[in-house]
Every structure is written in structure tokens, then in C-alpha cells.
Symmetry: C2
Subunit: 114 residues, 2 copies
């Protein structure tokens, strides 16, 4: 998409990026991860208000596979597991900020129309 037509939509880097950040809870998770630098599972769950264990744990697994985050397990009892953004994950932030600024402008315009 970014340059020319892709045969399959999955090949388009932009569509690909959206599959990574486009579902309901991805941004809140990424945001909490970024604010906290590193964070434990339950604390993350508290910060990402309203998320269920199922969605959170599955999201974390997928994001780990995708190379967005790292999971570090400490050999302690009780178990300690910390999550943090990878470099690739952090590289997303500027794009998100740019999108957020556009979103902010749009919100203002939408309000002005009411």
C-alpha cells in the first residue's frame, strides 16, 4: 500500500501494522507498557482498565511473537513476570503520536460541527 499495489492485503506494510495495533486493547496495552518501561502482569491489568485476563494474556503472547514486547520471567516465588517494549515496539511510538495529533485535530473539528 505505501508505495504501490500489493497483490495480497497482508503484504501491505500499513495493513500489517494495523493488524498489530488495530484491535480494541492493543493501544492501551502498548501505552501502559511505554509509560511504565517494565511492568508486571497484574499491574498491567490494573492499568489497562476493563481488560479481561483472556484478552490480556493472549494479546501479550501475540505481541511477543510479533517482536513488539519481551516477557521476562524471574525465578522467584511467587512467580514474577515482567513485560516491556522491544526497540521495535518503541519505534512505533512516534507514529502513534503523529496519529494522535491528527486524531486530536479531528476531534476538535467534530465538536465544532455540533
Amino acid at each position: 500500500m505505501s508505495e504501490e499495489g500489493y497483490k495480497r492485503k497482508e503484504d501491505c506494510p500499513l495493513t500489517f501494522a494495523l493488524t498489530i495495533i488495530g484491535s480494541k486493547w492493543r493501544l492501551p496495552i502498548i501505552w501502559a507498557l511505554w509509560k511504565n518501561k517494565r511492568i508486571r502482569y497484574n499491574e498491567l491489568k490494573r492499568q489497562v482498565d476493563g481488560i479481561t485476563n483472556m484478552v490480556l494474556s493472549q494479546s501479550l503472547k501475540e505481541m511477543e511473537k510479533q517482536g513488539l514486547i519481551v516477557r521476562t520471567q524471574f525465578m522467584e516465588i511467587p512467580l514474577r513476570v515482567e513485560y516491556s517494549l522491544t526497540e521495535a515496539g518503541e519505534a512505533l511510538i512516534p507514529s502513534l503520536k503523529s496519529l494522535a495529533e491528527w486524531g486530536k485535530e479531528m476531534q476538535i473539528k467534530v465538536k465544532a460541527h455540533v
Copy 2:
């Protein structure tokens, strides 16, 4: 989200931006609109391969309400209707390009891991 915590997720400009571009067909539509500058309904449908009338027409309506696109109807017979991005819609493009570049890097990394 972009600066501080929002009480409601809908208030976050980034979440808001994603509701605009995050569903399955939004990017392909925006992309076609941007490439063509102005385009008629059926031509748009041909270019956005695989989209159904229902999804396309509903998407266009919502995007018009959101101020992303304009619908211009010509008083001709047969009916001619053209769609194009608004300024606000075009302002999205740089953010999308930035996201697309990030996506491209990620795709390369993912492939390297296989």
C-alpha cells in the same frame, strides 16, 4: 492517551483515530481515494478489490460524517457521484506513511526470524 490518562477511552485522540481507520476496509478505501484524487462509486468498488456494496456504501457514509471525505453528486443522468478526501482526510496520509514504514521494518524482522 497521547499526553495523559483519559477517563473514557473514546476521549483519547489515538483511540479515536483508530476508530476511523481501524476497521478492515478503511485503509484500502482511503488509499484508493488518495491515489485517484476523485473517484466514482463503482470505480472505487473495482479498485478496492473484494469489498461489498454494503460495506463500501456504509463506510463512505460514516467517513463523510466524520469529515474525512466529501461526496459530490452531479445532476446528470445517469447519476454521477464522486468521492474525494477532505483536507482533514489528506492530513492523515503522512501519519499513515510513517506507520507504513514501521510496518515495513517489522515485516522484514518477522521474515528474518523464519
